[in-house]
């Protein structure tokens, strides 16, 4: 149909600027959720980074680690131990806090009526919109210790987790299969135990992964300013800050790159987890 068609009159573009993907073609392959591949590679990168950082002491030759004369890559990997383990700790705390916040909102709603639930989540929404990460260097400057810093970092990530966890659970409470269970005369507690809770675990976990990139970024930012993790622990942010102050490009590149890589992969994992827990 290409040859010699009198199609001179036809002009692009069509009437509807948006072209539709073909629908219901002969082969409908179930599609993986969007961003799945990216999430998978993010997880792989994160795992590789973690392994490399954990194995870093083996790479630094000799039993004693002199950080300043170690080669910059090994030093950056050593720093990763501090950054990543702190991020993991704060993310677990922040994720838990966010989930508990969301659950408390529902409890409040059940006890005091719906406006109470909406108010407590609106508070989380407002907090999540603020630049809470600024609190982390402030806390680092004020208290200094590891645990206060971890708690404050976790707290800065919690509102975002709470908002998402709340959205996921409220979508779930409207799910039709709960009505189907009610139509089978299951009493409300049984509906929750058998159908709501098993289906809530995945989206809640996904919401909690949101905390990881946030705490990693907040800690790096604080450490960059020199107000973050204690110097004994080592951190990418601190190394980048130090190298920048010393004007040492060779020392700056490895930690900065590793930090960027870790942030990207944490974001990819969180995005994919959130997208994957949604209903298509």
């Amino acid at each position: 149909m290409k040859d010699g068609d009198p199609m001179a009159d036809f002009e692009q573009p069509p009437l509807s600027p948006v072209r539709q993907p073909p629908q219901g073609g002969p082969s409908t392959v179930p599609q993986a959720p969007r961003g799945f591949a990216r999430g998978l590679s993010g997880a792989a990168v994160l795992a590789a980074l973690t392994l490399a950082c954990a194995a870093a002491p083996l790479m630094a030759d000799g039993s004693t680690i002199r950080r300043l004369d170690a080669d910059p890559v090994a030093a950056a990997l050593l720093d990763g131990r501090g950054s990543l383990s702190f991020a993991l700790l704060a993310a677990v705390l922040g994720g838990l806090a966010g989930i508990v916040w969301a659950l408390l909102a529902f409890l409040l709603g059940a006890l005091r009526g719906d406006p109470a639930r909406r108010r407590s989540i609106a508070a989380a929404e407002r907090l999540a919109g603020l630049p809470l990460a600024l609190l982390v260097p402030a806390a680092g400057g004020l208290f200094g210790g590891l645990w206060p810093l971890a708690l404050v970092t976790a707290a800065t990530a919690a509102p975002a987790v709470a908002v998402l966890a709340h959205a996921e659970i409220s979508a779930l409470t409207r799910a039709e299969f709960l009505n189907a269970a009610r139509a089978a005369a299951l009493p409300e507690p049984a509906v929750m135990r058998r159908h709501l809770v098993p289906n809530a675990l995945r989206p809640l976990l996904a919401a909690a992964t949101l905390a990881l990139p946030r705490v990693l970024a907040a800690e790096s930012f604080a450490s960059l300013l020199g107000l973050g993790l204690p110097p004994t622990l080592g951190s990418w942010g601190a190394s980048v800050g130090l190298a920048a102050r010393l004007g040492d490009p060779l020392g700056l590149a490895p930690p900065a790159l590793l930090l960027a890589l870790a942030l990207w992969s944490a974001c990819a994992v969180a995005d994919a987890a959130v997208a994957g827990s949604r209903k298509p």
């Binding site: 149909m1 068609d5 009198p6 199609m7 009159d9 036809f10 002009e11 573009p13 069509p14 009437l15 509807s16 600027p17 948006v18 072209r19 539709q20 073909p22 629908q23 219901g24 073609g25 002969p26 082969s27 409908t28 799910a175 039709e176 299969f177 009505n179 189907a180 269970a181 009610r182 139509a183 089978a184 005369a185 299951l186 009493p187 409300e188 049984a190 058998r194 159908h195 098993p198 289906n199 209903k279």
Partner: protein, 572 residues
């Protein structure tokens, strides 16, 4: 005119074959659309309509190979599936872009042409909001704008893929007829492609059916147009009602008003309904009619906020209110009622718990509803229910995510049958299915109903289809019953203007209603239909017409139901 008709048809294909890899989508199709002719191509999902239109518009879908000849003379336009406009851009800009691009004219003249087009699509001047982006205007207005844009460009050939899909039948048919009128008046070759249940064939001069890769003329009268099979006689046994709903109303709380006063939105206004043993009642209505709300209220999922729903004389509402920790006896009563009265959900796939296999959730339901059946018997019972719904044995072990839409619908039916119910309440049970699956599923539902002597309430927007094997129909509009009568009467001589429009739309004819349904938040005072009704007079704005009995068993809520249609424009 003679000169024009003497020329060759603007759209012609000769032995056009479309292939996707080695699968033949369309086999040697030969079609021709003359100037001013309206051709409809109907086919289910995946039949190849979109691929055909893509090739005709010279925008073949990726992966589709074409052989044979397709010739289009003059300017052609494709209205793509879904009718999307670019989001977040004011309509005026998009109009100027598209019309200007095709005709090379400036914004003002483009908008003038667009306004002419909107006139032809029957969009009142007040509703023209060129400054809004498309996502802020109603779906029907968006379609009208697309059609008007096409009219403004003035192509020689217009191809429309599933036009107006998803709109209410009365609105859809009105727009399609308008588009066809325009095409005939302007001598445009118009090709409408769509699913058969969307009635794109209604305004067409000629209909081709796309089935199994063949384009065949749809000369045989399709079954849905033939006289309705009269409902099985003997169903109308006068006995007392199994399900008796009285002044059932539903209101949702809104955020408090400016002075903190509580506000609510009433979507269902005092509906009465009786369901007798073995009877089938169709609840007919479009978006916002509250037919689904009524169906759920009958099931007490959730219970209505006003009125009572009694199953065999026992009021379900108090026991079903979740907050009330009602007495144990009440719960047992509710359980017995639920055993007898089972739902079919509009989205069957979503009504299954994704974290359990079909068998596991059936077992939970069975354990709850029929504690009298020993655990050892449950598997047998589940297999029986699946077989009755037309599903193979292995379905029990599958996960809900793996079921197709048709299988999910049947699995929903199987679950409803588990407890041995006496009545089913179905809310658009086949809405997710394509034409063939749909008729297959409805057949199964009918067989099951007759075999188990079930009573049935079906809520649907398909007027003729819903009534075809119902005993009675109830037409709902904006939460009010506007007409209720025996199915035969509604199918042949409905009295309310809205019922007439729905009947016309379901036959593919032009419904005598103008404009769109008002939103639930901005209902006009008086009769909810009065802004669209051809019979409306001043008095209609003053009082909501009561539901009156006009003949035994036939009730109508209209002040002027006995006025001849079209002869009542004496408003002043």
């Amino acid at each position: 005119m003679n000169l024009i008709t003497a020329r060759a048809a603007p759209l012609e294909t000769d032995a056009l074959t479309l292939m996707v890899e080695d699968h033949v989508l369309l086999d040697r199709a030969t079609l021709q659309v003359e100037r001013g002719e309206v051709l409809a191509v109907t086919g289910g999902a995946g039949a190849g309509k979109t691929a055909l239109l893509g090739v005709l518009a010279d925008q073949p879908l990726p992966g589709v190979d074409a052989a044979g000849r397709a010739r289009v003379d003059g300017r052609r336009l494709l209205i793509a599936q879904g009718g999307q406009l670019a989001p977040r851009r004011p309509l005026a800009l998009q109009v100027a872009e598209v019309v200007g691009h095709h005709l090379g004219i400036d914004l003002r003249s483009a908008l003038r042409r667009m306004a002419d087009g909107l006139d032809r699509m029957g969009v009142p001047a007040a509703a023209r909001r060129f400054d809004l982006p498309p996502e802020q205007i109603s779906q029907s207005l968006r379609w009208a704008c697309l059609f008007a844009m096409a009219a403004a460009v003035g192509p020689a050939v217009l191809l429309a893929d599933s036009p107006c899909a998803g709109l209410d039948p009365t609105v859809r048919l009105r727009l399609l007829h308008r588009l066809a009128d325009w095409a005939r008046a302007e001598g445009v070759a118009l090709l409408l492609a769509g699913r058969p249940e969307d009635r794109v064939d209604g305004p067409a001069d000629r209909v081709l059916r796309l089935r199994h890769g063949r384009l065949v003329p749809d000369s045989a009268v399709p079954p849905e147009r033939s006289a309705p099979a009269s409902p099985p006689v003997g169903h109308e046994m006068p006995g007392s009602a199994l399900l008796r709903a009285r002044t059932v109303g539903m209101a949702y709380p809104l955020s408090p008003g400016p002075k903190g006063e509580p506000r609510e939105l009433t979507v269902l206004h005092g509906v009465d309904l009786d369901l007798r043993a073995g009877e089938t009642v169709a609840l007919l209505g479009e978006t916002g009619s509250a037919k689904a709300t009524l169906a759920r209220a009958l099931l007490c999922l959730p219970p209505p906020t006003a009125g009572s729903v009694a199953w065999m004389g026992r009021d379900m509402v108090p026991a079903a209110v979740p907050a009330a920790s009602a007495a144990e006896a009440d719960q047992a009563g509710l359980r017995r009622t639920r055993r007898d009265l089972q739902p079919l959900f509009p989205d069957p796939a979503a009504s299954f718990d994704p974290s359990m296999t079909i068998a596991a959730q059936f077992a939970v339901a069975l354990e709850s509803l029929r504690p009298d059946i020993p655990a050892s018997q449950r598997a047998l019972r589940i297999a029986e229910a699946l077989a009755a719904a037309g599903l193979p044995d292995g379905t029990a072990e599958r996960w809900p995510a793996g079921l197709t839409a048709a299988e999910a619908a049947r699995a929903g039916l199987a679950r409803a049958l588990l407890s041995g119910p006496r009545a089913l309440v179905a809310d658009e049970p086949a809405a997710t299915l394509s034409a063939e699956e749909r008729s297959g599923f409805l057949d199964t539902l009918r067989v099951v109903r007759d075999h188990h002597r079930l009573s049935l309430v079906v809520a649907t927007e398909q007027f003729a289809e819903g009534l075809r094997d119902a005993d009675r129909g109830i037409v709902l509009l904006a939460g009010h019953v506007v007409e209720s009568a025996a199915a035969g009467i509604l199918l042949t001589a409905p009295l309310h203007p809205y019922s007439r429009a729905m009947l016309a739309a379901s036959r593919g004819e032009r419904p005598a209603l103008e404009g769109d349904a008002p939103s639930g938040l901005a209902q006009p005072a008086g009769c909810p239909l009065r802004r669209r009704c051809p019979l409306a007079r001043d008095f209609c704005a003053q009082a909501m017409p009561p539901l009156e009995e006009v003949s035994p068993g036939h009730r109508v809520a209209c002040h002027y139901w006995d006025a001849p249609e079209g002869g009542a424009a004496d408003g002043a």
